[in-house]
Amino acid sequence: MNMTFDEQKKLAEEVLGRMAVRVWVENGSVIAMVDTRYIIKALTDLRDHDETQLDVLTFMTAVDYTPREPRFTMVYELYSTSLRFRVRVQCQLADTGNENELPEIDSVSSVYRTAEWHERECYDLMGITFTGHPDLRRILLPENWDGHPLRKEYPFDGKRTWKPGCNVIDSQRMEGDLGL
């Protein structure tokens, strides 16, 4: 890491321009909050700009800040293998009021191929859909699982139990009831 945190912060502000809502340094990372509508352009600029060359998307996730509105914060951590520094890009996503509708955001899989699997995981565990994703389906849980476990309202020991072969209605039984 050749640049100081302030230099990195200035660089991020310069490249992102008006798309960045706020850029700050926290606990050893430079974090940039961008406007959700421009996420693809922001990541593309950070990747292609000569002075940043952030060529690797280390990870991508969502954090559920219930009961704060907007509920979700999408987090994209970028790393530059040539210039050796990191920038974390965040953007906020509000939940739809409706229980049956999932919130939507643009997919960045066209910018970084690794986002395909990360976004599938986000959809699976958090229930966020990505427009433009080539193959959005559940990755870690079975295909017919009901619910998105990493949301705050889902109990960690899964009161909605899924048993192989049974339909969704049966899966709403309590965990202790094994049907004996």
């Binding site: 890491m1 050893g28 990870f59 954090v63 987090v75 395909e116 699997w117 870690l140």
Partner: protein
């Protein structure tokens, strides 16, 4: 496990083969749906999630110290790496500085873990490709390292030895002799495995020019670690963003150009030699620095010494609160990452000021590396797929979490 004839085409019939979640390659419960045309793979779809444990959700229910017990079970071939990455993240969150002695112990255990993981990798990789005796030699050497783990942490694999603020307790008396003896003899074993495999015509036939990925694809897929170093990109977190005083250690980054399975093999073998060097340097530094504390001493974030708790009411209250509720880091977020044996292992910890984290996101290198498998394997023969899976060095515990 089963085969279904999908369609008949002019070139030949396409067959759908399920390389099911239970298969003899010991990489875990990975399911590959392969569409074959003869022996050539036309399409490969990995299905994961057969070991999904919900560790990220479980981390929101336990406090920061209890969470350390979950993570060695995630990448179970290199247990202490996970603990180290998590502790680095939480220490960044709090702003702790770990004492030097703890850092050197952490470095030694980190490198020992890397050797453990690479030994198991070469054992199973060679076993997949047919060289069964390498497995026995590698696992026998690994047993010595498991004995070391037991000496230091009390348990053969899942020690929970590395804690937030340092390590749990100082190393026992025979540690220096044992580790020094191991580190001086280890290069000879790696030489033996080298002698068995590196110039072996069967091994080279099966691994050279197989599973090639070019630089742009590697970067786009976010691959880090040995896979990136095998393509020629000089990336090693221990040198680029040093943690745990790695800038005081002297070692080389192993680089190759070819980007195939053989190059990754050579990179990992080279890393094993370097790890032994680093362990010896670490032991010398430990001797130099002499006895000292191995845990951060702070009234709020460090576990109190139990003898003191009986003397003072304030310390007793701290003892009680620490072990029942846990410490409360300030609200914020931090990302701590280490150069694990498989790539960059990172923990993104978000805290809201409570004793339990708000969110812990685990960036598992195997999850990211596995996404590149279809790219490596499509258009190649079925037997090459086995070599490619072995070369990525996946651990399903990390993929599925």
């Amino acid at each position: 496990m089963g085969s279904i004839f999908v369609e008949e085409q002019e070139q030949g019939r396409r067959m759908l083969l399920n390389m099911g979640p239970q298969h003899p390659s010991t990489h875990g419960v990975l399911r590959l749906l392969l569409e074959l045309s003869g022996e050539r793979i036309t399409k490969c779809v990995p299905h994961i999630g057969y070991l999904h444990t919900g560790i990220e959700k479980l981390s929101e229910v336990h406090n920061y110290t209890q969470n350390i017990t979950h993570y060695p079970r995630m990448d179970y071939l290199s247990p202490m790496n996970n603990e180290l990455a998590y502790c680095l993240a939480v220490e960044k969150l709090i702003g702790l500085e770990v004492p030097a002695r703890a850092d050197y112990i952490r470095v030694i255990m980190h490198e020992v873990t890397r050797c453990m993981s690479h030994l198991f990798w070469i054992g199973t990789h060679a076993l997949d490709l047919g060289a069964a005796s390498v497995f026995l030699y590698a696992v026998a050497e690994r047993e010595k390292l498991l004995d070391l783990y037991e000496m230091v942490g009390g348990q053969r694999m899942m020690t929970s030895y590395i804690r937030v603020g340092g390590v749990k307790s100082d190393v026992p008396e025979g540690f220096d002799d044992y580790t020094r003896k191991w580190a001086t003899e280890f290069p000879k074993l790696v030489d033996m495995i080298n002698g068995l495999l590196t110039k072996n015509p069967i091994f080279t036939e099966r691994t050279q020019n197989i599973g090639y990925l070019d630089r742009e694809t590697c970067l786009s897929y976010g691959l880090m670690g040995p896979l990136l170093r095998a393509v020629g990109i000089n990336q090693d977190l221990r040198k680029d963003m040093p943690y745990c005083r790695y800038d005081e250690f002297d070692f080389d980054v192993q680089l190759r150009d070819e980007g195939d399975v053989y190059a990754r093999y050579l990179v990992r073998m080279g890393e094993m030699y370097e790890s032994a060097k680093i362990v010896l340097q670490g032991l010398d530094k430990l001797k130099e620095i002499g006895p000292g504390r191995v845990m951060w001493e702070d009234d709020h974030f460090a576990p109190p010494k139990s003898t003191e708790a009986y003397v003072d009411i304030e310390r007793q209250i701290h003892h009680f609160k620490y072990w029942t509720e846990g410490f409360k880091p300030p609200a914020g977020e931090a990302y701590g990452c280490v150069e694990s044996s498989k790539g960059e292992l990172g923990f993104y910890v978000v805290s809201d000021g409570e004793a339990k984290p708000l969110r812990v996101k685990i960036r598992g290198p195997s999850f990211v590396n596995l996404a590149a498998l279809p790219e490596m394997v499509e258009g190649k023969l079925l037997a090459d797929a086995v070599a490619c899976i072995g070369s990525i060095d996946i651990v399903l515990g990390e993929v599925d979490r």
